[in-house]
């Protein structure tokens, strides 16, 4: 409000706005002219037409083929690198396991690579105490110092004739790294190489081995199958290889003439259940009973594949008798909580829709007695003739890498390898097991069968991913010298004495083939997309560097197979493709799958598919154990044994693994965190899902903080009321609850493994995850 107090002319009154008519007109004229003249030029500059795409002066773009390692899928990927920075990830169309498609985690690999909190130099612990919350006070040291310290300890242990006191942990590593680690273990003379397989799929392997002698997880011909009966398998979230399931789901749903029907049998309404045609809620732990009940109906109504049963199976008569006697649908219905009509209908559909697949999942297998469940489900496939046929169970072809010289051995090695393994694998405790990961804490704490003096962990994080984290923490404290090799400080690294920074999978040389699933063999290359960040070295290179510092058979074992990871990879993959071609294509695919190889397929005493496991009988006999005829070597269901008394711990803890959980030990990736749980529409969290009735009876409301307590510990999170959870269960996702590092993961959510108790399927050593009982109450 500009005004003027001046007296202008005598015509105007005092204290007026000094705005004469003339002035006003002048002002408006000028303003108008200004707007008029500037309107157009501004408008033209403002044109919505984008100017042509401009790129910076120095622009270098390339696509590098490699493979992912955020889970066991190890999918082939192509990474776009611009000016030395990786910025985009797509699938490799040459890879046929998933038809060139990748799951969301492959894209997030960029955040794995550029995680700002990666370790860039070897670190040495300076604090004397070890613990979950204790700051190790890391001090950076040089690679030479670090390697010298590690190799010195290794040499001393070996010279002290105690090579078996070395414990090696192997988490998620490329196959080339795995081969190098096991070669090292073998040359060094320690039988104690522990992978995470004992947590994941051992029950499936043992179950399959009992049926047909193949100690491997199932592979399926998803292109042609018409019916999928899934027992507790989260097909779209955590059944490896996940990318294959995601692609084939689209294919068998709507890209073939007959739409595959999917029936999901699960206690909780998972994402897979929501996408399936039918969700059948089942009492947890009773999948074995259901499988036997379905077998009963198929056998009784003569719906099985007579020809296959007659020609290629053994023990059917005994199996048939046992099933018909013990697993009547009405009995099974009571055990499983599924109405008998449903069981009849599903069994008939399964048997009469050919080809059909029965798929065991972790929800059915990770129980005491899980291997028998795996066996029972394998038998269902045999009943309907789905063994090695189009649309049925396949037997994974393994790629034949170029042979390398046998591992040399000396007296120390031989003696070491003969020692009883730390996890009691293959012993009376776990007769049919190859690795019993979760036995390690007890062995370490009790120092049985012998104490461990040194351990090296490669990308392992078992105190997060194995049941009963506290026992792992206790155990890790007792390792006098622990070396951890990983790109970041995981929960297991918290207990290390020395940290060696390894590269992520995008910066290393390697070869990989995905876990079984597709049937045909396929090998993928891993090559660095950018130079390793900071001072990190790949695991392969680290092993070569360590080996050369341990004179004797260890150094010898690593002579003649190349001097570093790159040369090793080149040597081993020379049986597939010329190197240059392999670098460009990234994928070698084996010959097409051959079906119905029945004459050579079954590795059993009878050379047929066995309903009465001759393999198991032979194994038990060898161990000097009598076989209780009747059930032990046939598929059967054993009642669930719970950890925790029902009166005190009324609810069952049922954890699950969402798709966006990374299996490399870290979850420090915001892209994954912010959309972590699609079914609940939330991120950055791990809620405890509770049925509305249960919540009401416990006086709990949405977002209330609660304690979830088991006989083994307690964790805290908040309540999410969910209609998809049965009244007697509480469901919590895996993947959160990190405590060691990470702006985007530390202190977020909770880790159900902290309250799950230690239990095993005694045959296979598979850790049980679902038989812990809990109680919940307001925090």
């Amino acid at each position: 409000m500009k005004n003027s107090k001046e007296n202008r002319s005598t015509n105007k009154k005092k204290n007026e706005i000094g705005l004469t008519r003339r002035r006003f007109l002048k002002l408006s004229g000028v303003t108008g002219a200004f707007i008029w003249t500037t309107h157009r030029p501004i408008g033209q500059l403002d044109s919505p037409l984008a100017s042509p795409l401009q790129k910076k002066a120095q622009y270098e773009e390339k696509w590098v083929v490699t493979s992912c390692l955020n889970c066991q899928g190890r999918c082939g990927i192509r990474v776009k690198v611009v000016n030395q920075k990786a910025i985009n990830v797509t699938g490799n169309p040459h890879s046929q396991v998933s038809e060139g498609k990748i799951c969301p985690r492959a894209h997030i690999g960029l955040q794995v690579l550029y995680d700002p909190e990666r370790i860039i130099s070897p670190l040495k612990r300076t604090s004397s105490e070890k613990g979950k919350q204790i700051d190790p006070q890391w001090k950076p040291i040089s690679w030479d110092q670090a390697l010298e310290e590690v190799s010195r300890n290794l040499r001393n242990l070996r010279e002290g004739l105690r090579p078996h006191h070395l414990l090696l942990f192997s988490g998620l590593n490329s196959r080339s790294s795995e081969d190098l680690i096991s070669r090292f273990a073998e040359a060094y003379g320690t039988p104690n190489l522990v992978t995470g397989e004992g947590l994941d799929w051992e029950a499936e392997r043992t179950g399959n081995w009992m049926a047909d002698g193949h100690f491997d997880i199932c592979a399926y011909d998803l292109d042609q199958t018409n019916y999928i009966l899934s027992f507790g398998a989260d097909l779209l979230e955590s059944t490896p290889p996940v990318s294959r399931w995601l692609r084939k789901w689209g294919k068998f749903r709507r890209e073939k003439s007959i739409r595959t029907k999917v029936v999901e049998i699960q206690p909780r309404y998972s994402l897979t259940a929501s996408k399936s045609d039918e969700w059948i809620p089942i009492n947890p732990g009773t999948d074995g009973a259901l499988a036997m009940g379905i077998a009963h109906i198929i056998i009784r109504e003569e719906l099985f594949d007579h020809r296959f049963i007659n020609e290629w199976t053994f023990g059917f008569k005994q199996y048939r008798e046992m099933v018909l006697q013990n697993y009547k649908p009405e009995v099974v219905s009571k055990m499983t909580g599924i109405p008998a009509e449903t069981i009849y209908r599903i069994a008939r559909e399964f048997a009469q829709t050919r080809p059909a697949l029965a798929i065991p999942g972790k929800g059915a297998l990770a129980w005491p007695g899980g291997s028998s469940v795996g066996y029972a489900i394998r038998c269902l496939n045999a009943l309907v003739g789905s063994i090695d046929v189009l649309g049925g169970i396949l037997y994974q072809e393994q790629p034949e890498y170029r042979a390398i010289p046998k591992v040399p051995s000396d007296e120390i090695t031989k003696k070491g390898l003969k020692q009883s393994p730390l996890d009691f694998r293959g012993t009376d405790r776990f007769p049919a097991s190859r690795v019993v990961t979760n036995q390690i804490p007890q062995s370490l704490i009790e120092r049985k069968p012998y104490p461990i003096e040194m351990a090296i962990g490669f990308n392992s994080n078992f105190n997060m991913t194995a049941p009963n984290s506290r026992s792992w923490e206790e155990a890790l404290k007792r390792i006098p010298f622990y070396v951890h090799v990983a790109p970041f400080i995981s929960e297991m690294a918290q207990f290390a004495d020395l940290l060696l920074p390894s590269t992520t999978y995008l910066e290393e040389w390697g070869y990989d083939h995905s876990s079984s699933g597709a049937g045909f063999a396929e090998v993928r290359i891993k090559q660095p997309v950018i130079k390793p960040i900071g001072g990190s070295k790949s695991i392969g290179d680290i092993i070569f560097l360590l080996a050369e510092r341990i004179p004797g058979v260890v150094a010898e074992a690593f002579n003649g197979i190349g001097n570093c990871a790159e040369e090793f990879v080149r040597l081993r993959t020379s049986s597939f493709l010329p190197w240059e071609e392999f670098l460009k294509k990234g994928v070698w695919k084996g010959p097409p799958y051959q079906y119905k190889k029945y004459s050579t397929l079954f590795h059993t005493p009878s050379k047929k598919f066995e309903f009465v496991s001759g393999n198991l009988r032979a194994l038990l006999n060898k161990k000097g154990r009598a076989v209780r005829e009747g059930t032990e070597i046939l598929p059967h269901y054993s009642r669930v044994r719970w950890l925790g008394d029902e009166s005190q711990f009324p609810l069952i803890l049922f954890p699950y693994q969402p798709l966006l959980t990374f299996e490399n030990g870290s979850q420090n990736y915001p892209w994954a965190q912010e959309i972590f749980l699609p079914m609940q529409g939330v991120g950055w969290t791990s809620p405890a899902e509770v049925n509305p009735e249960t919540a009401r009876s416990l006086n709990l409301r949405e977002h209330d903080r609660i304690w979830i307590e088991s006989p083994f510990g307690k964790i805290q999170t908040y309540v999410k009321i969910s209609e998809g959870v049965p009244p007697n269960m509480v469901c919590i996702p895996f993947g959160q609850g990190h405590t060691s590092y990470g702006k985007w993961q530390k202190g977020i959510g909770c880790n159900p493994n902290e309250v799950i108790g230690v239990d095993f399927d005694l045959l296979s050593g598979q850790s049980a995850f679902f038989n812990t009982r809990v109680k919940i109450y307001k925090a």
Partner: protein, 400 residues
């Protein structure tokens, strides 16, 4: 009778303290604006669910007040009612300042205020189907008209002022109905969407404008020791009563329609959700119910204190009405697909009252008050203080 107008002296201690305080608040305004400009709107309470917060609420509130004030001024200049002569200039002046305030609010709320000029590229760079663009034509015309109006009043050109005043009143109606249409024409927000919204806004403008005039004139006259005719207050009070009843009918019809299908959920959320109190206590209670009671109950309607209280209640209540529109209107989760949407997308939004946003709003209000006080000081807005007034006031005070 020819009324003479004068400025206020501006010599009292109260005046000086007030000016200093308001000056400091202007500094606060600039600071809080810069904080938001540089750090981004994360310092406010707005989010992707509730994108419009305190500033937009104030913006529509002030436009309403301005339109209401201009319409009251027409009682003096268009309808030539002598009773209202005393507050005529005051009303027009308030209209201009409130409009400027509204403009400041909306400019500051923009994500990129430096591009605010884009709102004024009529027809060339503006999308004229957007009510913001149409409104910007209305607003510039409105301010220009008000400035001319005030200037004509100062010049004493009564007849021209009447003509411009008439146009201005109609324009004010268009302005505020346009502001209402910003909300009323948005089809996906059920609380907004209503053909009656522009009219509801107009009625709210009239009630709040009238009440603000009552409030400000009584307070200003009292503080500057001028007498205000009780008849003026009661006359405005009666007008206010009528308008509140019309507003009540409008709001009732609007909400009743929304309670019939389709799309009841949002209105039910307004009535019973997180922000029920803004609707029931402020909009209905303080904006309509309580003042209506005061203005019809015999004891209070006859006292200027009663009318003052009613006016105060309306002023606060109508602010609540604006807030009850803006916040729950966008807080209600949109039904993308039938069923319960899981996670945050299915939950109503939350609008926290944040420090910087509140500070910014209050400081802009202080800025307008500062302009108002300066205007009173340097322009002849208020009627001359007559010696009878002073004596009458002194008598009154002596009596008390």
């Amino acid at each position: 009778m020819e009324m003479n107008y004068s400025t206020i002296e501006g010599t009292s201690k109260g005046y000086k303290i007030l000016i200093v305080f308001l000056g400091v608040m202007v500094g606060v305004f600039i600071t809080s604006f810069l904080v938001a400009y540089l750090k981004g709107q994360q310092v406010w309470g707005v989010s992707n669910i509730i994108p419009w917060g305190q500033l937009i609420t104030f913006y529509i509130y002030f436009i309403g007040l301005s339109a209401g004030a201009i319409i009251i001024s027409s009682l003096s200049y268009v309808f030539r009612r002598e009773t209202y002569e005393a507050i005529g200039r005051l009303a027009v002046f308030m209209g201009i300042l409130l409009m400027i305030g509204a403009m400041v609010f909306v400019m500051v709320d923009l994500g990129r205020p430096e591009k605010a000029w884009r709102l004024f590229m009529y027809f060339y760079l503006n999308n004229m189907s957007s009510l913001f663009a149409i409104n910007s034509i209305f607003y510039t015309g409105y301010i220009t008209l008000m400035l001319i109006y005030l200037w004509l009043i100062f010049e004493g050109k009564k007849r021209l002022a009447a003509i411009i005043g008439t146009i201005d009143v109609l324009w004010a109606i268009a302005v505020h109905m346009g502001t209402g249409a910003i909300f009323g024409l948005i089809g996906n927000r059920e609380i907004f969407f209503s053909p009656i919204k522009p009219f509801e806004f107009l009625m709210a403008a009239l009630t709040s404008g009238t009440s603000l005039i009552i409030l400000i004139s009584m307070v200003t006259f009292k503080l500057t020791r001028r007498m205000i005719q009780e008849e003026l207050i009661f006359s405005l009070g009666r007008f206010l009563t009528t308008i509140i009843v019309v507003l009540l009918i409008t709001v009732f019809v609007d909400k009743l329609t929304h309670l019939y299908f389709p799309n009841r959920e949002a209105t039910l959320y307004l009535f019973t959700g997180d922000y029920w109190w803004v609707f029931w206590i402020f909009q209905i209670g303080m904006g309509i119910g309580f003042p209506l009671f005061l203005l019809t109950y015999p004891k209070t309607k006859k006292s200027s204190r009663g009318v003052l209280l009613a006016a105060l209640s309306v002023v606060i209540g109508v602010f609540g009405e604006r807030a009850a529109l803006v916040i729950p209107g966008t807080a209600h989760p949109q039904p993308f697909f039938p069923g319960t949407i899981e996670g945050p997308w299915g939950e109503p939004g939350i609008f926290p009252i944040t420090f910087w946003e509140s500070l910014l709003s209050l400081s802009i209000v202080s800025f307008i008050v500062l302009l108002f006080v300066l205007g009173l000081r340097y322009l002849e807005i208020l009627p001359e203080r007559k010696t009878e007034d002073t004596r009458a006031l002194l008598n009154l005070t002596a009596k008390e």
